[in-house]
């Protein structure tokens, strides 16, 4: 699975997000991901993809595309 698909799968299975709503331009807050959910997601992504996102700063105003890009940059590091 691609990074994007991995993140989408986590959002659907762990946060109950509608898969149709997960698009690159959509702000995370529109997926009802608040600050707590983002920290929870960070842990899940780290475990799933074996990456370190400690210094990645994301807020719920950021988009799905920004999230995927940030994870990709760490996965390739």
């Amino acid at each position: 699975m691609s990074t994007s698909e991995e993140i989408s799968a986590l959002l659907v299975t762990r946060f109950g997000t509608d898969p149709e709503a997960i698009r690159p331009e959509v702000p995370l807050r529109e997926l009802r991901l608040d600050s707590l959910a983002l920290e929870e997601l960070r842990l899940l992504v780290e475990d799933r993809l074996d990456v370190d996102l400690e210094d990645v700063a994301l807020s719920s105003r950021d988009t799905v595309g920004r999230l995927v890009a940030a994870v990709r940059s760490k996965a390739g590091a």
Partner: protein, 424 residues
């Protein structure tokens, strides 16, 4: 035995009029059954018997079993997004709350949500998640610990989850007085209705402590039964061979309303909460006052609050934990305060000791007892303790005529509570 029929109520105290809250809905999720009807049939001996399995997480402990709820798929029922923010005690509370509100005939889409309160008791809150995350901390380090620890483990998690699920915007709060939490929650709700703080309250208790940490400690305390060869027979309140309580999980909630509110909408009233009393032993961290003076004070206060004579009480759903000390002290106190005409029961042999949920579950069962004029039996009472000086119903449910019933609860730390309930 019969009750004395219609009774007159005195003013509670000079200047304080009696106040009866209408109980219009019930929700129960217990090891005896999911749903009020299933739990009622279960405690009356008509079900398949409670679920009391050995649990793998308790392997090797002197008590390796507990009463568990055969709950539905929580993700499906509650939704993934909501479920992930609730530990199990909150999930059980939401299921019970939905049933209670539907039973009351209330529709959260149209009610005056600012006048709806939630008061839910719990002794330990989200202890299982705490236990799990402590293991994560020690085995994988601080950076693997979940950020959800605080919101999931706080004792008010059940109250806030129910308020969110129902869209209740009135006051919401937790009550935590150990094993009397559920009873104190309903007493607190009674007081809130009396003062006009709200028109409707969803109140009771919720607990789930499937935690190796807590059960290990309870074993060290020697408070729990070690009858591992027969878990279903381990909890035996008022029996000569009782050797401790057995922990259970569950939730029991009632919908209570100001009487004029229930009347105006034509609600079916199941029973009424007529009086409440609470007290503190100020004696011990775990042991009840040896003479039962604390629970006596709570019960006498509840009777005074209700303006009802002891002789009018026909049935008591006792705390009846199946510990040697509690059952003796409580039963002697009941005889001293209420007399020898009572039909007493403990339903814990069918639900387990659900700790902070117990008072909520057992108050709901007392409401059903009043409605059906039927006293559930105390299961496993094969050899009644001759030192217990009250009549404890055993073997099968018993029909009786009674207009007034009592629920008593005692909590670690000496938190005593009693409710007086009357027929609708």
């Amino acid at each position: 035995m019969t009750g004395r029929g219609p009774f007159a109520r005195r003013p509670a105290r000079p200047g304080i009029e009696p106040f009866s809250a209408a109980v219009t809905g019930i929700g129960l999720v217990t090891a005896a059954g999911v749903g009020a009807e299933r739990t009622w049939h279960g405690v009356c001996g008509a079900g398949a018997g409670p679920s009391v399995p050995h649990l793998p997480e308790l392997d090797g402990l002197p008590c390796d079993f507990m009463y568990t709820v055969d709950a539905p798929d929580m993700k499906a029922v509650l939704g993934v997004a909501a479920q992930r923010l609730m530990d199990r005690f909150s999930q059980l509370a939401v299921i019970a709350a939905r049933e209670a509100v539907a039973d009351a005939g209330l529709d959260p889409a149209v009610w005056d949500s600012g006048r709806v309160a939630v008061v839910i008791g719990s002794a330990h809150g989200g202890l299982p998640f705490y236990d799990e995350q402590h293991t994560v901390l020690t085995e994988r380090g601080a950076r693997r610990v979940s950020p959800k620890l605080a919101p999931l483990t706080v004792v008010n998690g059940a109250a806030s989850s129910v308020a969110m699920d129902l869209g209740a915007h009135g006051p919401s709060q937790a009550v935590s007085t150990a094993c009397s939490s559920g009873t104190v929650a309903i007493g607190t709700a009674h007081q809130m209705l009396r003062t006009g703080a709200c028109d409707i309250v969803v109140a009771g208790g919720a607990e789930s402590v499937r935690s190796r940490l807590l059960i290990a400690s309870a074993c060290q305390m020697r408070a729990v039964s070690t009858r591992r060869d027969d878990p279903r027979a381990a909890c035996r309140p008022f029996d000569s061979h009782r050797d401790g309580f057995v922990v259970g999980e569950g939730a029991g909630l009632v919908v209570m309303e100001r009487p004029e509110h229930a009347r105006a909408r034509g609600a079916v009233v199941r029973a009424r909460v007529a009086g409440y009393g609470a007290s503190s032993d100020a004696h011990s961290a775990v042991a009840p006052d040896p003479d039962g003076l604390g629970i006596e004070r709570a019960l006498r206060t509840a009777l005074t609050d209700a303006g009802i004579d002891a002789a009018d009480v026909g049935h008591v759903n006792a705390h009846g934990t199946s510990t040697v000390a509690n059952d003796l002290i409580e039963s002697v106190m009941l005889r001293r305060v209420l007399g020898d005409h009572l039909l007493v029961t403990s339903t814990k042999a069918m639900t387990g000791h659900t700790l902070g949920a117990a008072g909520g579950i057992e108050t709901a069962l007392t409401v059903l007892a009043l409605q059906h004029q039927l006293v559930p039996p105390t299961a496993n009472l094969d050899a009644p303790d001759p030192a217990v000086p009250v009549e404890v119903v055993s073997k099968e449910a018993r029909h009786a005529v009674f207009d007034c019933a009592v629920k008593t609860s005692l909590g670690f730390g000496g938190h005593n509570a009693a409710l007086v309930l009357t027929r609708a």
